[in-house]
Symmetry: C2
């Protein structure tokens, strides 16, 4: 496994692959002729095609198959929305600066690098105790606050990389790109750091659109922005990236999923809290049905999305043995979250979070409801009316007027709108013989039983209003594509120079390439006719009529991950009208009639036909010399 290989091997692998990716324009550092800007990448033609294929497959797999409500919201977002969501106050990373150059670094990245270097340095001669201490800090890195990071950076004497200058104490830096909306300059906006908020602010309309019924899911695919402090790690940490997010709204009392049985026998690698904290620290394959019944995964809906995510990732070419679902440790999760799992994919950078799956309870809707003063609730009609004890609070209007005169009006309104929780709290004070304090209209009021009568009464309830829980699968499309690149890349045994991407046909930028064996107008025109037939079948393809040897042309398309090559030769015209069809990974070839070949490729791409079936049906073409030409 790469995870245990020495770093240099991984780096060599990555450098070789990145060379191919950049040379063939899968991606390009943005604004290259102006010297580029860290954290920005363009997708070139094959990368763009792959990204299109992956997002369309995502749309098919999630939105269409699950009848989700897709929305598209702007990236520019006014401050009020992101203040309510907590991003204005808390979407920060801790930064340190080089005290001499002013260069900025992420505090946790410096600490991580320093600890890893320390642990790997044979000269450090750490005592077992010191070693364990360093390992422990490394494991708890994500939990450290500013003070904790500062203390650790000081303890381990961390300096600025490269310059080795002293560094400042860590301070929070907000990662949102800030801008100003409109000409007056008085409306602050940010580029959204995630697409999810656009769904939450539309919850009311979406619920109405769904006929008022729960559960339902909304989804959005779009760009998000994070002004990373010092982006490294190539395509993995970028400042502008594509997210695909789902918000599945559900009754908090019923998180079962009607289609759970379709995934319950799937057994992905699960890295639960228990497995992360025991001695072996290894994930284990477990069926999702077992994981739910053993309460390892909190509920069916969350487990259902873990299953669907597993099927999606494996379907586009992520190796299942290099994919695990890691549960968040309790102190890694937000206080409101019920349960969180990250889909992590192993690549040359280690295990990388590609998808986050979280049961966020009612947090987001409550936050926007409080900030916007709009109820964001659903209504549940009980199958049978229920008789429930309810606190009924009756303000004494006359007594309030007497006590506070005109100023009593906001208090009156606040008491009219008391929630069950608030009423319970006030009643507790009264029962203890104390008055209670109620804030209204910008001041505090002392409220006594004379002003407010609270009684427990039995009421007949036909239904209830409640704030739905939300289960959020959030996909980083760029990261998934990068990991997919790593899992698809290999070199032929015959030669290290012959690089191949074993893309799944549905993901491949082109489904086929068509070659005339030699440069002859007659062969070219047959090749073009096959290309037209492929295009008509909806299959992206290319024709290469350059005089390059056929072996080199095969190698070029292998490097782009094109799964099928079709070659027109003299036998096509003078013989039986057949062409050769070559499969990328086996390099085996068969002869098929030129009028049939587009249909066969279409069936191969759609999965109706396997290559083995093609080998069994059509005569083989001997092509021993191919890879040597």
């Amino acid at each position: 496994k790469d995870a245990k290989a020495p770093p240099s091997a991984k780096e060599l692998f990555r450098a070789a692959m990145t060379n191919v990716l950049e040379r063939r324009l899968f991606f390009i550092p943005s604004f290259k002729i102006y010297g580029s800007v860290a954290g920005f990448y363009d997708f070139g033609p094959p990368g763009c095609a792959i990204k299109q294929n992956v997002t369309q497959l995502w749309r098919q797999h999630f939105i269409l198959q699950e009848s989700m409500l897709e929305v598209e919201c702007p990236a520019v977002t006014p401050e009020a929305v992101l203040k309510a969501s907590g991003h204005v106050d808390r979407f920060t990373d801790f930064m340190v600066t080089d005290v001499k150059t002013g260069d900025c670094h992420r505090a946790d990245h410096l600490l991580k690098a320093a600890l890893e270097a320390l642990l790997e340095d044979p000269k450090a001669a750490l005592t077992p105790e010191k070693k364990r201490e360093a390992e422990d800090v490394l494991a708890r890195l994500d939990e450290l606050d500013g003070a904790g990071l500062g203390a650790a950076l000081t303890q381990y004497g961390v300096k600025a990389p490269e310059t080795k200058n002293d560094i400042s104490a860590p301070f929070p830096f907000n990662l949102m790109f800030r801008t100003s909306i409109g000409p007056k300059g008085d409306l602050t906006g940010y580029l959204r750091p995630e697409t999810a908020q656009g769904i939450f602010v539309n919850f009311k309309d979406l619920l109405y659109y769904n006929g008022g019924k729960l559960p339902f899911a909304a989804a959005q695919i779009g760009q998000s922005y994070r002004n990373e402090i010092s982006p490294r790690a190539g395509l993995l940490r970028v400042r502008e990236f594509t997210q695909a997010e789902i918000e599945h709204f559900v009754n908090p009392d019923d998180k079962d999923h009607p289609k759970f049985e379709s995934v319950e026998r799937l057994a992905p690698l699960l890295f639960s809290r228990v497995l992360q904290t025991n001695e072996a620290k290894q994930p284990e394959a477990m069926s999702l049905g077992d994981a739910v019944s053993k309460k390892i995964i909190a509920n069916q809906t969350l487990a259902y999305f873990i299953g669907r995510t597993y099927l999606f990732l494996v379907g586009i070419g992520i190796a299942p043995e290099r994919l695990r679902f890691r549960q968040h440790l309790p102190n890694e999760m937000a206080h409101y979250a019920e349960d969180c799992w990250d889909a992590e994919v192993e690549c040359s950078y280690g295990w990388v979070e590609c998808v986050g799956l979280a049961d966020r309870s009612a947090y987001d809707l409550r936050a926007h409801s409080a900030a916007s003063k709009q109820p964001l609730e659903a209504y549940e009609k009980f199958a049978e009316p229920r008789f429930e004890k309810v606190l009924v609070a009756k303000p004494n209007k006359a007594a309030i007027g007497k006590a506070f005169k005109k100023e009593g009006k906001p208090l009156q309104e606040a008491l009219d709108a008391l929630t069950q929780e608030d009423a319970a709290c006030i009643k507790k004070s009264f029962d203890e013989g104390k008055a209670s304090t109620v804030s209204a209209g910008g001041r505090d009021f002392e409220v006594t039983p004379e002003l407010l009568d609270i009684k427990l009464e039995e009421q007949k309830l036909s239904g209830r209003k409640f704030t739905p829980s939300v289960i959020e699968p959030s996909f980083g499309i760029g990261r998934i594509i990068y990991c997919m690149f790593e899992h698809a890349y290999y070199t032929r045994e015959s030669s290290e120079d012959k690089t191949v991407f074993r893309f799944k046909p549905a993901v491949a930028p082109l489904k086929a390439a068509v070659f005339p064996l030699v440069q002859q107008p007659e062969l070219n025109s047959h090749a073009r006719a096959i290309s037209t037939a492929l295009t008509r079948a909806g299959l992206a393809n290319t024709v290469d009529t350059t005089g390059t040897t056929i072996g080199k042309r095969y190698a070029r398309t292998d490097e782009l991950g094109v799964p099928y090559d079709i070659t027109v030769d003299r036998a096509t015209i003078d013989g039986d009208g057949s062409v050769t069809l070559r499969e990328r990974d086996t390099t085996s070839q068969v002869r098929i009639h030129e009028e049939k070949v587009a249909g066969v490729v279409q069936q191969l791409v759609s999965g109706e036909l396997s290559w083995q079936q093609v080998l069994d049906t059509y005569p083989a073409q001997q092509a021993a010399a191919e890879d040597d030409s």
Copy 2:
């Protein structure tokens, strides 16, 4: 025609349609629960589906069919790129402020509204001369600079709308959203105002990807941003919008197009310069072949894209008689542009620019080449070597060293890199007996024939380097969709309340709806089976099992523009297994076997089958009562 209807009729039409669009969540003012922000809209579920369909059809029609190179670049763009393109200095609108409230207005919008009101006001009693003058200013509005706008606003005594306060003199306001990249705050960035620049900066790599050959086209679909001063006009003028832009790079000496004959017989309404300035001021239908041969359209490539644009727009549902191509007047065009045509679509706002098609010559590549110091050129190998007279400039190294010592080095480099144009200019000075001034390394040098020998020599040239011309079709996807909404919207003759969108099946958000006639589990399960078959055929669909009358359910799907409704009734189960299939616009119905219906709908959507053929093949279902239920 709507164009001649009184404004109130257009506004009523628009209000009625907008009501449906917002109620059915085609689009939603963004951040609604926070009071919205002008110029931002969300696409709700059906709008999002339509936008997906339109962009995928665009990708199919342009990128795949023409083998264009698709790229995807970030929206956040460093200042250097947009400085070079001219946007930092010149991407401005003239703004005036209300001197009392500080409210901002677009100067040209205020002037336009004032002149239109003046011309329509019977009490104004304008002399024919004053009338002509006002009409003239109105027609030349786009050409006015700040001073011209200011003079006209003063002349016509224009005040702030609503407040009627005085307004300031016009001043330029840059329309780009500004932000800062990275934590240090020293790198200014903007949100791109167009997607085109991402293609230009990648020209070198894209040319290489295309094997160094011209012509080729690159395309990008993505978000662009314009911080409009006071956005009105709903979906037409928004601050964040989707563009689809093509940059077709071509040899400036050969702008013929190999596929021109495929469009030369198309005859869209052309509104040439001559037609705009003659008495009638009406566009005329003319074949593109004629328009090119009569030199009305500058070249085949530009005309080819006009033809392809026409096919695309009509194909997604723009009414051809409400679509015209308007040529830019000479002073409306940038100085470098060769020829520009806008595809304008008539809607309730008047004629709206939806696509710009411009031959921008070599301007953009030259601008980026100059700013980035990177050659952005193509190479053309001549079929036969050519013998051409070339200026050969030989700097006298020794004399330069003697004259300027060490400071002569940048001069030496500048003289080594002289272009033919610069050399010609210097030679002209020398021929007139004067020295020439050459700037290098930040200072000016006086250059004499002693320092530089320039001779005209005949050389054998096997090819030449040149900067390609670019022909740019630029699509505003949101505007196109809005105009398509207007052209698709109508109310049934039977009732003003029955609204319908006659979307083309390929554009419709759902292709079919499936209804059990009455609420029965048995009917529901047959309906679900048909829905599954539709999904398997790749057709977005819905099942509506609510107990609402079938007439109301038909009306609901008509309002979403769903082209086909399938109803399961008792005859499906007890009789011959047939269901009814209803077409939206004719409301006619046939009976088809439940196992065949998904296939028939698929053929209808793909266009393999017409509704008339279906009527001719299958028995009709009498449904006189449908629209009354």
